[in-house]
Protein backbone atom coordinates (compact mmCIF):
# COMPACT_ATOMS: atom_id res chain seq x y z
CA UNK A 1 0.00 0.00 0.00
CA UNK A 2 1.31 3.36 -0.94
CA UNK A 3 1.93 5.76 1.92
CA UNK A 4 0.90 8.66 -0.29
CA UNK A 5 -1.96 10.70 1.18
CA UNK A 6 -1.60 9.02 4.58
CA UNK A 7 -1.95 11.70 7.31
CA UNK A 8 -0.78 9.63 10.30
CA UNK A 9 1.45 6.59 10.08
CA UNK A 10 0.83 3.10 11.59
CA UNK A 11 2.82 3.56 14.78
CA UNK A 12 1.12 6.81 15.91
CA UNK A 13 -2.25 5.16 15.22
CA UNK A 14 -1.22 2.15 17.30
CA UNK A 15 -0.11 4.47 20.12
CA UNK A 16 -3.50 6.22 20.09
CA UNK A 17 -5.29 2.85 19.99
CA UNK A 18 -3.27 1.53 22.96
CA UNK A 19 -4.00 4.74 24.88
CA UNK A 20 -7.76 4.36 24.26
CA UNK A 21 -7.78 0.69 25.29
CA UNK A 22 -5.80 1.34 28.48
CA UNK A 23 -7.90 4.37 29.38
CA UNK A 24 -11.07 2.31 28.99
CA UNK A 25 -9.59 -0.45 31.16
CA UNK A 26 -8.59 2.08 33.80
CA UNK A 27 -12.07 3.60 33.79
CA UNK A 28 -13.76 0.19 34.01
CA UNK A 29 -11.62 -1.16 36.83
CA UNK A 30 -10.90 1.90 38.92
CA UNK A 31 -13.54 4.54 38.34
CA UNK A 32 -16.79 2.87 37.32
CA UNK A 33 -16.95 -0.03 39.80
CA UNK A 34 -13.92 -0.15 42.05
CA UNK A 35 -15.51 -2.63 44.46
CA UNK A 36 -17.19 -4.96 42.01
CA UNK A 37 -14.18 -7.22 41.88
CA UNK A 38 -14.35 -7.96 45.59
CA UNK A 39 -15.70 -11.46 46.06
CA UNK A 40 -18.32 -11.55 48.80
CA UNK A 41 -18.89 -15.04 50.11
CA UNK A 42 -21.90 -15.82 52.26
CA UNK A 43 -23.15 -12.23 52.35
CA UNK A 44 -26.81 -13.15 51.94
CA UNK A 45 -26.54 -16.08 54.34
CA UNK A 46 -24.72 -13.91 56.89
CA UNK A 47 -27.39 -11.26 56.55
CA UNK A 48 -30.13 -13.84 57.12
CA UNK A 49 -28.44 -15.05 60.32
CA UNK A 50 -28.08 -11.43 61.43
CA UNK A 51 -31.77 -10.76 60.77
CA UNK A 52 -32.70 -13.92 62.66
CA UNK A 53 -30.83 -12.59 65.70
CA UNK A 54 -32.45 -9.19 65.17
CA UNK A 55 -35.92 -10.75 65.13
CA UNK A 56 -35.09 -12.75 68.28
CA UNK A 57 -33.95 -9.54 69.98
CA UNK A 58 -37.13 -7.75 68.87
CA UNK A 59 -39.21 -10.68 70.08
CA UNK A 60 -37.53 -10.55 73.49
CA UNK A 61 -38.24 -6.81 73.60
CA UNK A 62 -41.90 -7.49 72.75
CA UNK A 63 -42.17 -10.12 75.49
CA UNK A 64 -40.68 -7.75 78.06
CA UNK A 65 -42.94 -4.98 76.84
CA UNK A 66 -45.96 -7.29 77.22
CA UNK A 67 -44.93 -8.18 80.80
CA UNK A 68 -44.38 -4.54 81.73
CA UNK A 69 -47.62 -3.38 80.12
CA UNK A 70 -49.65 -6.16 81.75
CA UNK A 71 -48.61 -4.73 85.11
CA UNK A 72 -49.20 -1.15 84.03
CA UNK A 73 -52.63 -2.05 82.64
CA UNK A 74 -53.51 -3.84 85.91
CA UNK A 75 -52.45 -0.79 87.88
CA UNK A 76 -54.56 1.40 85.57
CA UNK A 77 -57.53 -0.97 85.81
CA UNK A 78 -57.43 -0.77 89.61
CA UNK A 79 -56.90 3.00 89.51
CA UNK A 80 -60.03 3.29 87.31
CA UNK A 81 -62.02 1.18 89.85
CA UNK A 82 -62.30 -1.77 87.44
CA UNK A 83 -63.07 0.22 84.27
CA UNK A 84 -60.98 1.07 81.23
CA UNK A 85 -61.20 4.84 81.69
CA UNK A 86 -62.56 7.48 84.02
CA UNK A 87 -66.01 7.63 82.37
CA UNK A 88 -67.42 5.33 85.07
CA UNK A 89 -66.58 5.66 88.75
CA UNK A 90 -69.36 3.81 90.58
CA UNK A 91 -70.31 0.20 89.83
CA UNK A 92 -73.75 0.46 88.31
CA UNK A 93 -75.04 -2.95 87.31
CA UNK A 94 -77.07 -3.60 84.17
CA UNK A 95 -75.71 -0.42 82.59
CA UNK A 96 -72.57 0.70 80.74
CA UNK A 97 -70.92 1.10 84.13
CA UNK A 98 -71.13 -2.59 85.02
CA UNK A 99 -67.53 -3.72 85.43
CA UNK A 100 -66.18 -6.14 82.83
CA UNK A 101 -62.62 -6.73 83.99
CA UNK A 102 -61.32 -8.75 81.07
CA UNK A 103 -62.72 -6.38 78.43
CA UNK A 104 -61.48 -3.29 80.28
CA UNK A 105 -58.07 -4.86 80.83
CA UNK A 106 -57.68 -5.75 77.14
CA UNK A 107 -58.63 -2.18 76.17
CA UNK A 108 -56.09 -0.72 78.61
CA UNK A 109 -53.42 -3.19 77.48
CA UNK A 110 -53.94 -2.32 73.80
CA UNK A 111 -53.72 1.39 74.62
CA UNK A 112 -50.57 1.01 76.75
CA UNK A 113 -48.65 -1.49 74.63
CA UNK A 114 -49.62 -0.68 71.06
CA UNK A 115 -50.40 -4.35 70.33
CA UNK A 116 -53.61 -4.70 68.33
CA UNK A 117 -54.40 -8.43 68.18
CA UNK A 118 -55.06 -9.11 71.86
CA UNK A 119 -57.62 -11.32 73.58
CA UNK A 120 -58.15 -13.29 76.80
CA UNK A 121 -59.08 -16.96 76.58
CA UNK A 122 -59.28 -19.25 79.61
CA UNK A 123 -57.37 -16.83 81.86
CA UNK A 124 -54.57 -16.46 79.30
CA UNK A 125 -53.79 -13.21 77.57
CA UNK A 126 -52.93 -13.99 73.94
CA UNK A 127 -51.00 -11.41 71.93
CA UNK A 128 -50.38 -12.05 68.23
CA UNK A 129 -48.16 -10.03 65.92
CA UNK A 130 -45.69 -10.40 63.08
CA UNK A 131 -41.97 -9.56 63.17
CA UNK A 132 -40.64 -8.89 59.67
CA UNK A 133 -37.44 -7.83 57.90
CA UNK A 134 -37.26 -6.95 54.19
CA UNK A 135 -33.87 -6.63 52.50
CA UNK A 136 -32.08 -6.59 49.18
CA UNK A 137 -28.42 -7.71 49.04
CA UNK A 138 -26.45 -8.33 45.84
CA UNK A 139 -29.65 -8.40 43.78
CA UNK A 140 -31.18 -10.95 46.16
CA UNK A 141 -34.44 -9.77 47.67
CA UNK A 142 -35.84 -11.50 50.71
CA UNK A 143 -38.52 -11.10 53.32
CA UNK A 144 -37.89 -12.84 56.61
CA UNK A 145 -40.67 -12.97 59.17
CA UNK A 146 -41.88 -14.74 62.24
CA UNK A 147 -45.51 -15.03 63.31
CA UNK A 148 -45.39 -14.51 67.04
CA UNK A 149 -47.85 -15.48 69.74
CA UNK A 150 -47.14 -14.41 73.30
CA UNK A 151 -49.18 -15.97 76.09
CA UNK A 152 -49.32 -14.61 79.63
CA UNK A 153 -51.47 -15.61 82.58
CA UNK A 154 -54.05 -13.07 83.69
CA UNK A 155 -56.63 -14.20 86.17
CA UNK A 156 -59.63 -12.03 87.00
CA UNK A 157 -61.66 -14.80 88.69
CA UNK A 158 -61.37 -13.12 92.10
CA UNK A 159 -62.62 -9.78 90.76
CA UNK A 160 -65.43 -11.49 88.85
CA UNK A 161 -66.48 -13.42 91.97
CA UNK A 162 -66.67 -10.21 94.00
CA UNK A 163 -68.60 -8.38 91.28
CA UNK A 164 -71.12 -11.21 90.97
CA UNK A 165 -71.56 -11.38 94.77
CA UNK A 166 -72.07 -7.63 95.00
CA UNK A 167 -74.50 -7.71 92.09
CA UNK A 168 -76.56 -10.53 93.65
CA UNK A 169 -76.43 -9.10 97.18
CA UNK A 170 -79.87 -8.44 98.60
CA UNK A 171 -80.81 -5.98 101.36
CA UNK A 172 -77.46 -4.25 100.83
CA UNK A 173 -75.96 -6.61 103.40
CA UNK A 174 -72.53 -6.46 101.79
CA UNK A 175 -70.71 -7.60 104.94
CA UNK A 176 -72.55 -10.90 104.73
CA UNK A 177 -72.43 -11.15 100.94
CA UNK A 178 -68.70 -10.54 100.75
CA UNK A 179 -67.70 -12.56 103.84
CA UNK A 180 -64.51 -14.52 103.18
CA UNK A 181 -63.59 -12.67 100.01
CA UNK A 182 -61.01 -10.40 101.63
CA UNK A 183 -62.85 -7.25 100.66
CA UNK A 184 -62.76 -4.45 103.22
CA UNK A 185 -65.95 -2.48 103.52
CA UNK A 186 -66.03 1.05 104.83
CA UNK A 187 -67.68 4.42 104.47
CA UNK A 188 -66.30 7.58 102.92
CA UNK A 189 -66.79 11.14 104.20
CA UNK A 190 -70.12 11.47 102.41
CA UNK A 191 -71.42 8.31 104.07
CA UNK A 192 -71.31 6.15 100.92
CA UNK A 193 -70.23 2.54 101.26
CA UNK A 194 -66.75 1.87 99.85
CA UNK A 195 -65.03 -1.39 99.07
CA UNK A 196 -61.35 -2.23 98.90
CA UNK A 197 -59.76 -5.42 97.64
CA UNK A 198 -56.06 -6.16 97.92
CA UNK A 199 -54.26 -6.68 94.63
CA UNK A 200 -53.68 -10.42 94.38
CA UNK A 201 -51.56 -10.22 91.20
CA UNK A 202 -47.85 -10.90 91.12
CA UNK A 203 -46.20 -7.58 90.33
CA UNK A 204 -42.57 -6.87 89.59
CA UNK A 205 -42.39 -3.50 87.90
CA UNK A 206 -45.24 -1.52 89.47
CA UNK A 207 -46.25 -1.26 93.10
CA UNK A 208 -49.33 -3.09 94.26
CA UNK A 209 -52.45 -1.01 94.41
CA UNK A 210 -55.75 -1.99 95.94
CA UNK A 211 -58.96 -2.15 93.92
CA UNK A 212 -61.23 0.43 95.51
CA UNK A 213 -64.77 0.80 94.34
CA UNK A 214 -68.20 1.97 95.34
CA UNK A 215 -71.52 0.54 94.26
CA UNK A 216 -74.84 2.01 93.28
CA UNK A 217 -76.82 -0.15 95.71
CA UNK A 218 -80.08 0.51 93.88
CA UNK A 219 -78.81 -1.66 91.02
CA UNK A 220 -77.91 -4.72 93.11
CA UNK A 221 -80.10 -7.77 93.77
CA UNK A 222 -82.02 -7.15 90.55
CA UNK A 223 -82.57 -10.31 88.57
Amino acid sequence: MSRKGQIIGFMPLLAIFVLIILSFALYSFLVKSPDKDIGIIGDVQGSLIKDDTLLDTNLFYSEKKAELMIEKSLADLYAYHGFSDSACVVWNFNSLCEPDFEKSFVELFKKNSGFTDVKIENKILIIKFKEEVKKEINNVKYTYWKDVEIKKDVDFSKEKEIASKVKACSDNDFEKCLAGTGVSIGKDSSGSITFSMENNKKQLFFENTALEFSVDSSTTAII
Binding site: M11, A15, L19, D37, I41, T53, L54, N58, F60
Partner: protein, 144 residues
Protein backbone atom coordinates in the same frame (compact mmCIF):
# COMPACT_ATOMS: atom_id res chain seq x y z
CA UNK B 1 16.85 8.51 3.16
CA UNK B 2 15.12 11.68 2.22
CA UNK B 3 13.89 14.31 4.64
CA UNK B 4 10.33 12.94 4.67
CA UNK B 5 11.58 9.45 5.43
CA UNK B 6 13.62 10.77 8.34
CA UNK B 7 10.58 12.60 9.69
CA UNK B 8 8.43 9.44 9.47
CA UNK B 9 11.11 7.40 11.21
CA UNK B 10 11.25 9.90 14.08
CA UNK B 11 7.44 9.79 14.39
CA UNK B 12 7.48 5.94 14.46
CA UNK B 13 10.21 5.78 17.08
CA UNK B 14 8.44 8.43 19.21
CA UNK B 15 5.17 6.47 18.92
CA UNK B 16 6.89 3.25 20.00
CA UNK B 17 8.41 5.03 22.97
CA UNK B 18 4.96 6.44 23.84
CA UNK B 19 3.36 2.97 23.66
CA UNK B 20 6.05 1.56 25.97
CA UNK B 21 5.55 4.48 28.37
CA UNK B 22 1.76 3.97 28.33
CA UNK B 23 2.17 0.29 29.11
CA UNK B 24 4.62 0.94 31.94
CA UNK B 25 2.48 3.77 33.34
CA UNK B 26 -0.76 1.81 33.31
CA UNK B 27 0.98 -1.27 34.71
CA UNK B 28 2.21 0.80 37.65
CA UNK B 29 -1.31 2.15 38.21
CA UNK B 30 -2.83 -1.34 38.19
CA UNK B 31 -0.15 -2.91 40.33
CA UNK B 32 0.42 -0.13 42.87
CA UNK B 33 -2.80 1.92 43.02
CA UNK B 34 -5.23 -0.95 42.45
CA UNK B 35 -3.93 -3.87 44.52
CA UNK B 36 -7.33 -5.58 44.93
CA UNK B 37 -6.36 -8.76 43.26
CA UNK B 38 -7.07 -10.88 46.32
CA UNK B 39 -10.59 -12.03 47.15
CA UNK B 40 -11.93 -10.44 50.27
CA UNK B 41 -14.10 -12.82 52.29
CA UNK B 42 -16.75 -11.03 54.25
CA UNK B 43 -18.94 -12.56 56.92
CA UNK B 44 -21.20 -11.10 59.58
CA UNK B 45 -20.25 -13.79 62.07
CA UNK B 46 -18.43 -11.55 64.55
CA UNK B 47 -21.19 -8.98 64.68
CA UNK B 48 -23.83 -11.69 65.09
CA UNK B 49 -21.86 -13.35 67.84
CA UNK B 50 -21.92 -10.18 69.97
CA UNK B 51 -25.67 -9.70 69.35
CA UNK B 52 -26.35 -13.27 70.46
CA UNK B 53 -24.15 -12.75 73.54
CA UNK B 54 -26.05 -9.61 74.52
CA UNK B 55 -29.43 -11.30 74.02
CA UNK B 56 -28.38 -14.31 76.10
CA UNK B 57 -27.03 -11.97 78.76
CA UNK B 58 -30.36 -10.12 78.96
CA UNK B 59 -32.15 -13.48 79.34
CA UNK B 60 -29.72 -14.72 81.99
CA UNK B 61 -30.96 -15.20 85.56
CA UNK B 62 -29.09 -13.58 88.43
CA UNK B 63 -30.27 -14.12 92.01
CA UNK B 64 -33.62 -15.39 90.71
CA UNK B 65 -34.25 -12.39 88.48
CA UNK B 66 -33.70 -11.95 84.79
CA UNK B 67 -30.98 -9.43 83.85
CA UNK B 68 -33.47 -7.57 81.62
CA UNK B 69 -35.79 -7.16 84.62
CA UNK B 70 -32.90 -5.88 86.74
CA UNK B 71 -32.23 -3.22 84.08
CA UNK B 72 -35.91 -2.26 83.86
CA UNK B 73 -36.09 -2.09 87.67
CA UNK B 74 -32.85 -0.05 87.71
CA UNK B 75 -31.29 -2.56 90.08
CA UNK B 76 -27.72 -2.01 88.90
CA UNK B 77 -25.80 -3.47 91.87
CA UNK B 78 -25.68 -7.06 90.68
CA UNK B 79 -25.33 -6.26 86.99
CA UNK B 80 -21.61 -5.43 87.16
CA UNK B 81 -20.73 -8.82 88.63
CA UNK B 82 -22.93 -10.69 86.19
CA UNK B 83 -20.97 -9.16 83.27
CA UNK B 84 -17.99 -11.29 84.31
CA UNK B 85 -19.97 -14.40 83.39
CA UNK B 86 -19.94 -13.48 79.69
CA UNK B 87 -17.61 -15.60 77.55
CA UNK B 88 -14.76 -13.68 75.95
CA UNK B 89 -16.11 -14.06 72.44
CA UNK B 90 -16.36 -10.34 71.70
CA UNK B 91 -13.29 -9.30 73.64
CA UNK B 92 -12.91 -9.06 77.39
CA UNK B 93 -13.75 -6.71 80.21
CA UNK B 94 -17.38 -6.21 79.31
CA UNK B 95 -19.40 -3.17 80.21
CA UNK B 96 -22.92 -1.86 79.67
CA UNK B 97 -24.22 1.52 78.63
CA UNK B 98 -27.89 2.09 79.41
CA UNK B 99 -29.47 5.04 77.63
CA UNK B 100 -32.96 6.04 78.74
CA UNK B 101 -35.68 7.55 76.58
CA UNK B 102 -35.03 11.00 78.06
CA UNK B 103 -31.35 10.82 77.02
CA UNK B 104 -29.96 10.21 80.50
CA UNK B 105 -27.49 7.34 80.66
CA UNK B 106 -25.83 4.97 83.08
CA UNK B 107 -22.52 3.17 82.53
CA UNK B 108 -21.79 -0.12 84.26
CA UNK B 109 -18.17 -1.25 84.04
CA UNK B 110 -17.75 0.73 80.77
CA UNK B 111 -15.18 3.45 80.19
CA UNK B 112 -14.67 6.05 77.45
CA UNK B 113 -12.17 3.78 75.65
CA UNK B 114 -14.51 0.80 75.37
CA UNK B 115 -15.69 -0.35 71.96
CA UNK B 116 -19.44 -0.69 71.41
CA UNK B 117 -20.05 -4.29 70.32
CA UNK B 118 -23.80 -4.66 70.01
CA UNK B 119 -27.01 -3.10 71.21
CA UNK B 120 -30.56 -4.08 72.08
CA UNK B 121 -33.72 -2.37 73.23
CA UNK B 122 -35.73 -2.92 76.40
CA UNK B 123 -39.02 -1.36 77.47
CA UNK B 124 -38.79 0.91 80.51
CA UNK B 125 -41.34 2.47 82.83
CA UNK B 126 -40.75 5.83 81.15
CA UNK B 127 -39.97 4.70 77.59
CA UNK B 128 -37.50 2.44 75.83
CA UNK B 129 -34.02 1.78 77.20
CA UNK B 130 -31.12 1.28 74.78
CA UNK B 131 -28.70 -1.36 76.11
CA UNK B 132 -25.20 -1.25 74.60
CA UNK B 133 -22.67 -4.03 75.23
CA UNK B 134 -19.13 -2.61 75.32
CA UNK B 135 -15.84 -4.39 75.57
CA UNK B 136 -12.17 -4.02 76.29
CA UNK B 137 -9.36 -1.46 76.46
CA UNK B 138 -9.51 -0.73 80.17
CA UNK B 139 -5.74 -0.50 80.39
CA UNK B 140 -5.61 2.61 78.23
CA UNK B 141 -5.12 5.79 80.19
CA UNK B 142 -4.46 3.93 83.43
CA UNK B 143 -8.14 3.61 84.22
CA UNK B 144 -7.90 0.11 85.59
Amino acid sequence: MNKKGQYEAIIDVASMILIVLFLIGFSIIFIVVHPKSEVSIKTSADENQCSVLLLNFLKMNVDGKQVADLIILENYDVLGDSLKRLPEACGDDYGLKLINADGSSKSINANPFSIEKSEAKLPGKNGDIKVVLTSGMRDIGGLK
